[in-house]
Amino acid sequence: MTTPTATTDAEALIESLDRKSALHKFHHVLHKYPWISPGLVLLVAIIIFGLLNERFWAISNLSLITQQVSIVATLAIAQTLVILTAGIDLSVGAIAVFASMVMAKTAAEQGVPGPIALLLGLMVGTAAGALNGFLITRLRLPPFIVTLGTLSIFTAITLIYATGKTINGKYLPDFMLILGTKIQIGSFKITYGVVVMLLLYAIFAYVLRNTAWGKHVYAVGDDPAAASLAGIQVNRVLFSVYLVGGLVLAIAGWIAIGRVGAASPSIIPDANLESITAVVIGGTSLFGGRGTMIGTLIGAILVGVVSNGLVLAGLDQAYKVLAIGILVIVAVALDQWIRKVRA
């Protein structure tokens, strides 16, 4: 009898086609919303860590996590913009620290009023970003090399300028420390720094989605030659990305002063890698042209959740590093798969 075999063959075929189309649909959804996968991982992580240690779910602990991630999450905004253009910025931490030291030192030692000191810091951050942009667009040097160089340069200038010293919060005007102030929302305690960070995410998510500049950032990262033929001034867009990034980084510096309650040249040592980690885990492609701000925010929070959760679970710091390493590789592998589209 051949008929039964034929039917089962056909059934198997249909089943495999169904499975294929389900996978296809899943692929399609991830392609359109690349932040869904880190979102799911975040959800799972929050559940698991809560089951491992009840204290993880305590409101006070969750509040703490948001405060802990506020600096890196803000740096990651600038990093996202740069990575969307298929670049990379190794100097994010250095620029933020540089700007924060300018704010703190002018306020503490030159007696400049808080708001003016902030303005000076913001200007320095923006100028530092502009320098990166200038070197990348005018001298046509690769972003990796330029920012590797400016990482050292900005770090050195900061150390020389600050003479290696930390400026204690008690010498700073209140305004300089204001982002560390806690506000109570229900039983959730967050700082103004967290609010500023979230506000920046909202602004840049809007800008990327809803403005011509946002579209151009994607187009330039996607295919610069095509963007240029389509009439986009590629260098102008690139330069503006680094410039705006510098401003955001300076704000991150301000958040850092509030969070630590002091300004120190060595305030955020692992910031560069952590910001890149957040962006990559958040589903933004290192090849440029695709990614979202919400993804990066999820990525940054996920890193914070994993660090905090593993500590509460009583595991060694090494496990955190291990876990984040795995997350990064899974995220990049997933991105490779997502980008594989053929009509």
Partner: protein
């Protein structure tokens, strides 16, 4: 009185290191005509139209738009003169959707405060316009204008590029092998569209390797060979075999027998 070309190139030279792309190339495009540009691979067809559309800057030579001397530094400059181009490489941003690609660099903002102050793009408006434009081209199969271009087939991508040029070209449309990846039906749509543009008085430069296509739609045929113009003929004055012979250098055409202006093309047709 002689007719003035809409777009003219005189003695364009373009080298890439030691490779000569253009070797004193001329071209004239007259109002309301379809000028086909044919030639072997590497004859300099794409390089020629890239100079005319601002994508490449010629080493020497002159270009004129309606008699005015112009020098294009980037494609934006040519666009400002109403010259729209579909490049052989298509020049689309794969990760962006169809509507965003159609309006890339020319985005439409929302009305009122949202657009003026918050610079918000009119996504819905652009999608509606994109849909209309694609339907006009007979590419009604594309339903979702928010679909990423990289999920489209080669032909559909080409259609998006052609639709973009058609939508914004106000003076000259340049098409570099616009039907290379298209099916028969879609190719015919593009040819029909070319005729439509000509009927509207919009001159078109069409680069193509497809001889029957060229002979059916072109008013004049510019034959490019080794970086310069070998001859300009018309579908009436010469056969496809003649055109191929000119391309390969087997046939030379006397200046007097060429269709260097539309008047001669009309004379040929009589």
């Amino acid at each position: 009185m002689t007719l003035q070309p809409v777009l003219q190139a005189k003695g364009l030279v373009k080298t890439f290191g030691r490779v000569v792309g253009l070797n004193s190339a001329d071209l004239e495009l007259y109002p309301g005509e379809v000028l086909a540009v044919i030639g072997d691979n590497g004859a300099g067809k794409s390089t020629l139209i890239k100079c005319l559309s601002g994508a490449e800057i010629p080493d020497s030579g002159e270009m004129f738009v309606e008699g005015e001397l112009v020098s294009f530094k980037r494609s934006l400059d040519a666009r400002a003169y109403g010259i729209e181009t579909v490049y052989q490489t298509l020049a689309v941003a794969p990760a962006l959707d169809i509507a965003s690609n159609l309006f890339l660099g020319r985005e439409v903002r929302s009305k009122g405060i949202a657009g003026k102050v918050f610079r918000k793009l009119d996504h819905n408006g652009m999608r509606t316009l994109a849909k209309e434009q694609m339907t006009k081209l007979g590419i009604g199969t594309l339903q979702d204008m928010s679909q990423a271009v990289e999920t489209l087939s080669g032909g559909q991508r080409q259609a998006v590029s052609v639709a973009r040029a058609e939508a914004f070209g106000s003076k000259v449309i340049i098409l570099d092998e616009p039907t290379a990846a298209l099916g028969v039906r879609e190719s015919n749509q593009v040819l029909k569209m070319i005729e439509l543009m000509r009927d509207r008085g919009l001159p078109v430069i069409l680069i193509s390797h497809n001889m029957p296509q060229v002979f059916s739609v072109a008013d004049r045929i510019h034959v490019q060979r080794l970086g310069s113009r070998a001859a300009v003929v018309t579908p009436n004055s010469h056969t496809m075999n003649d055109a191929v012979a000119i391309m390969t250098g087997a046939l030379k055409v006397d200046e007097n027998d060429q269709a260097l202006s539309p008047a001669q093309a009309i004379a040929d047709a009589l």
